[in-house]
């Protein structure tokens, strides 16, 4: 299993579009941007609804259950911050509540070989510092 303890992850810098996402993650909650006109969830956050051009967008809680949409196993150590943990699984997750909104993550608490397209996962939260907590994923129990 990948040992993430020696990895120094880049710290996300929230901006005016993304701050509610990170504020929610700090509370161990997953909230995605939702168009109040057509109900479409989208991620990453954007200035307008990419489905209907609506501009009334709010962040709403979604359940953390989803499937692995795609993944890669990283072996290359070009990014020295992650060199200690190769090979590791970087995954893309599609949540049940937000089809089409793709979230990046790592597959934690399992061997990287467990990453497969279509496998069920659930969100967990990894605290980076007092300000930032990362949504992450593990295989669904």
């Amino acid at each position: 299993m990948s040992d993430w303890s020696k990895v120094t992850r880049p710290i996300p810098v929230p901006n005016e579009w993304t701050k509610p996402f990170w504020d929610a993650a700090k509370r161990n909650s997953l909230e995605l941007q939702r168009c109040q006109s057509c109900g479409h969830f989208q991620h990453p956050p954007y200035a307008t609804c990419v489905q209907c051009m609506g501009i009334d967008l709010k962040f709403e809680a979604v359940r953390g259950a989803g499937t692995i949409y795609a993944y890669t196993i990283m072996y290359h150590t070009g990014d020295k911050r992650f060199a200690s943990v190769v090979p590791y699984a970087s995954i893309v997750v599609e949540l049940d509540d937000a089809p089409g909104a793709l979230l990046a993550g790592n597959l934690l608490e399992s061997n990287y070989t467990e990453a497969k397209v279509g496998r069920r996962v659930e969100v967990i939260f990894e605290k980076l510092n007092d300000d930032i907590t990362l949504p992450q994923f593990r295989l669904a129990v």
Binding site: V13, F82, V117
Partner: protein, 394 residues
């Protein structure tokens, strides 16, 4: 069909030396390629009155320094001091194929007579993707914290989705890498000219970002290539046999920054560009004699073959087997070796080869009887463009 088909032609191609490291400034590479292309056309440099490029540095985290890591129009003009320049552009929403298309448009509009387009690519010293930042800004805030650091991973996630949804394995990709390296041995300008590759080499190579091993990735190099474009009536008087542009297209599908892994985005990008190209030229995939499809990472060829319509979705890895993409196969593919053979020069070399094959100038790798020559000049979603060249105008 497009009223302007076969009204513009490529009439000169040129290359710099392709080297692994940046021994001389990139501007010198670009200048060498432009001089070579103008000489190939039989023109004098003073005849050139149009300039276009895409001066982007794909190596992230390195400074863009004009003349060192990029070569802008400004830099090129400072070197050439063209006495009769009447038009120039740098593009952004497309890769280098868009610069070629802008040159086509300028020639059709009559605002220049002989346009030069170049692509110069820098390989920085040290780590190619330089990601030392402690913070992840902008779109990267949703990807970099999870170790998504470079374009290889962005492509790799779509590739795993393609493989597993289609019950395929990466083993079949060895055929692409080995066949293209075989083609490379007919291209003395290519980085891997003189270096063959076997299936055993492919399977023994180290993994980079699964499903990509080393030989699924084009090697970063320092070098430049260039072309001369002009109108069909002027091209007839030049030295080389012209390669006429029968049609072109651009990807019309756009993806939100930071959204990664969407296989459907590649497919929609490719099919939107190809549809325009087929409609404008009047051809369809079955008419194509030879194809160049961008291969910065091998899986781009899968997305290209399927989204452009050469085979059905899920079938591309089977399509490339059994000699079909050999020089004498049903669809000779990346006949100059592709980026996997030449090194990372982006799509202008694919365009050059498309033109050379259409005009019968491809030397020992010439596909016999080739007339309809297709080019997909960059990864379908990122900045994709497509072209058809013909040797016989119609």
């Amino acid at each position: 069909m497009w009223d302007n088909r076969c009204k513009i032609a490529i009439s000169g191609v040129g290359y710099s030396k392709v080297s692994r490291s940046a021994d001389i400034p990139l501007a010198a590479h670009a200048l060498a390629a432009v001089k070579d292309a103008v000489a190939d056309s039989g023109l004098e440099m003073s005849d050139i009155d149009g300039l276009a490029t895409y001066p982007e540095l794909p190596a992230t985290g390195h400074a863009e320094v004009d003349g060192i890591s990029i070569v802008s129009v400004n830099c090129m003009m400072a070197m050439l001091k063209l006495p009769s320049l009447t038009w120039h552009i740098q593009v952004g929403t497309t890769n280098i194929g868009g610069a070629v298309q802008q040159a086509v448009n300028a020639l059709l509009a009559g605002v220049c007579k002989y346009a030069v387009v170049w692509r110069a690519m820098h390989n920085p010293k040290g780590t190619y993707q330089n990601l030392p930042g402690a913070q992840a800004q902008g779109a990267a805030q949703f990807t970099a914290p999870y170790g998504f650091g470079g374009p290889g991973q962005g492509m790799a996630v779509a590739y795993t989705r393609w493989l597993e949804r289609n019950n395929q394995t990466r083993d079949k990709m060895a055929t692409l890498a080995v066949t293209q390296r075989k083609h490379t041995q007919h291209n003395p300008h290519a980085y891997f000219y003189g270096t063959p590759l076997t299936r055993e080499d492919y399977f023994a190579s180290r993994m980079v970002a699964y499903p990509f091993c080393l030989f699924d990735c084009d090697i970063p190099v320092q070098g430049a290539v260039a072309i001369v474009l002009t109108t069909a009536d002027r091209a007839k008087d030049l030295k080389p046999k012209p390669a006429y542009i029968a049609g072109y297209g651009q990807r019309l599908h756009f993806e939100t920054a930071g959204r990664i892994g969407s296989l459907s985005s590649y497919m929609e990008g490719g099919s939107s560009s190809a549809k325009l190209t087929w409609e404008r030229s009047g051809f369809s995939p079955k008419d194509v004699d030879v194809a160049q499809i961008y291969d910065g990472f091998s899986a781009s060829v899968i997305y290209g073959l399927e989204s452009y319509g050469f085979c059905k979705e899920g079938e591309a890895l089977d399509f490339i087997q059994d000699g079909r993409i050999e020089l004498d196969g049903e669809l000779p593919l990346n006949t100059f070796g592709g980026s996997l053979g030449t090194g990372r020069i982006h799509g202008l070399w694919h365009i050059i080869e498309g033109a050379l094959q259409a005009s019968g100038r491809a030397g020992s790798r010439q596909v016999k009887g080739a007339n309809v020559s297709f080019v997909g000049a960059s990864a379908p979603i990122v900045t994709g463009t497509t072209f058809i060249f013909v040797g016989d105008p119609y």
